[in-house]
Symmetry: C2
Subunit: 206 residues, 2 copies
C-alpha cells in the first residue's frame, strides 16, 4: 500500500500537534458518550466539555453532530479493519468469508450497542452536506468486503453485489438496533445476501 497518512481529510491544512490532540479528544469523548446512551446521549455541549474544548471549537472541527458521529464511525472502522486484517476469515467460498467477516463485525458492534446505534443512525440520517464523509465510510466498508472476497479486480456485477451487501448490512443493523429483528434473523439475512456473491462470480458463463 502507498505510504499515505491513513486518516482523514485530503488537502485540508495540516493540523498542528495540539490540534490533532484536540481532534482525538473530541472523537474519544464522542465515542464514550455514545457508548453510554447512544445517539441522544451525544450532546454537543457535553462532548465539548468532556474533551475540554469550547463549543465553537467543536463546531469548527465537526460542523454538525452528524459529521461528528460519522467521523467517529470512520475512526472505529479503521480499528475494525486493522483487527480483521490480522485474522482473515477461514471460509472456503468467498460468500462464506464475507458472511463470516460481517458477522464478526456484527459481534463487535453487539458489545457496544449504544455506540453502534449512534453511529449507524447518524450514517443513515446524514443529508447531502455529509455525503463526502459518508461516502468515505462506504468506501472503507467496500474495501473490507472485497478483502474478505479476496478480489483485486471486481466486475461491475460484483460491485453491485457488494453494494447490495452493504445496503443489507446497514439496514439489518438498524432493524436489530431498534429491536425489530433478532440476531438470528440478522445472521440469516446476511448469509442470504452473501449468496449473491457466488451468483455473480465469473466462474462458468462469462
Amino acid at each position: 500500500m502507498p505510504a499515505e497518512a491513513s486518516s482523514a481529510s485530503p488537502a485540508s491544512p495540516p493540523l498542528t500537534e495540539r490540534q490533532e490532540a484536540r481532534r482525538r479528544r473530541i472523537l474519544h469523548a464522542s465515542a464514550q458518550l455514545a457508548s453510554r446512551g447512544g445517539f441522544d446521549a451525544v450532546q454537543m455541549r457535553e462532548v465539548a466539555e468532556s474533551s475540554q474544548v469550547a463549543l465553537g471549537t467543536l463546531y469548527r472541527y465537526f460542523p454538525s453532530k452528524v459529521h461528528l458521529l460519522v467521523a467517529t464511525m470512520q475512526d472505529q472502522l479503521e480499528h475494525m479493519h486493522g483487527t480483521l486484517r490480522k485474522k482473515p476469515p477461514q471460509g472456503e467460498t468467498a460468500a462464506e468469508r464475507v458472511a463470516e467477516t460481517l458477522m464478526r463485525a456484527f459481534r463487535a458492534l453487539q458489545r457496544e450497542p449504544h455506540l453502534a446505534d449512534a453511529m449507524v443512525r447518524a450514517l443513515t440520517f446524514a443529508d447531502r452536506s455529509v455525503s463526502p464523509e459518508v461516502d468515505q465510510v462506504s468506501r472503507q466498508t467496500t474495501v473490507i468486503i472485497l478483502d474478505a472476497m479476496g478480489l483485486e479486480n471486481p466486475t461491475p456485477e460484483q460491485l453491485s453485489a457488494v453494494r447490495v451487501i452493504e445496503h443489507t448490512w446497514h439496514s439489518a443493523l438498524i432493524t436489530w438496533l431498534s429491536g425489530r429483528a433478532s440476531i438470528a434473523q440478522v445472521k440469516i439475512d446476511i448469509e442470504t445476501v452473501c449468496r449473491l456473491i457466488d451468483l455473480t462470480a465469473p466462474t462458468d458463463a462469462s
Copy 2:
C-alpha cells in the same frame, strides 16, 4: 381479506368524525410540507398551524415528528399499494415482477423527492419508541413484494430474501436521496438483489 378498517391503530379508542378529520388534515399538511422541503421543512409548529390544530393536539395525535412522518409514510404506502394492485407487473419471472414493481414505486417517489426524503429519513432514524409503526410499514412493504411475486405461502428462505430486498430498497433509496448514487445504480442494485428470489425459489431441490 377480512372486513377491517384499512388504516391504523389496533384496539385504540375509535375516533370521532371530527377527530378523524383532524388526523387527516394533519397528515395532509405533513405530506404537503414534506413535498416542499423534505424532512427539515416539516416543522411541528407549521404542521399544527397548517392543519388548524393546536401544537399540543398535534402531539397528542403523533407523539413525535418521526411518528408523524412514519404515519405519513403508511398513508402514502396505502395509496401506492392501491395503485399497484390495479396494474400488476407484467414480468415473466417473480424476480422480474418484483424488480418492476419496485422500480415503479421508485419512479413514483422520484416525482416527489422531498417527500420521499422526509419519509425515508424518518423511517431509518426511528428509534425503539416507533418500532410498532415502523414494523407496520415493513409489513405493508412485504405484502407488496409478496404480491408481486405471486406467492401465498413463502418459505422462511423466501421471507429472508424478501427482507434483504427491503433492506436494499430502503438503503438504496437513501443513497440516491443523498446524492451518493445515480438512478441507474439504484436500478442495477434492485435488479441484482431480485435475483435472490430465483435463487430461493423451491423449484428443483427441496
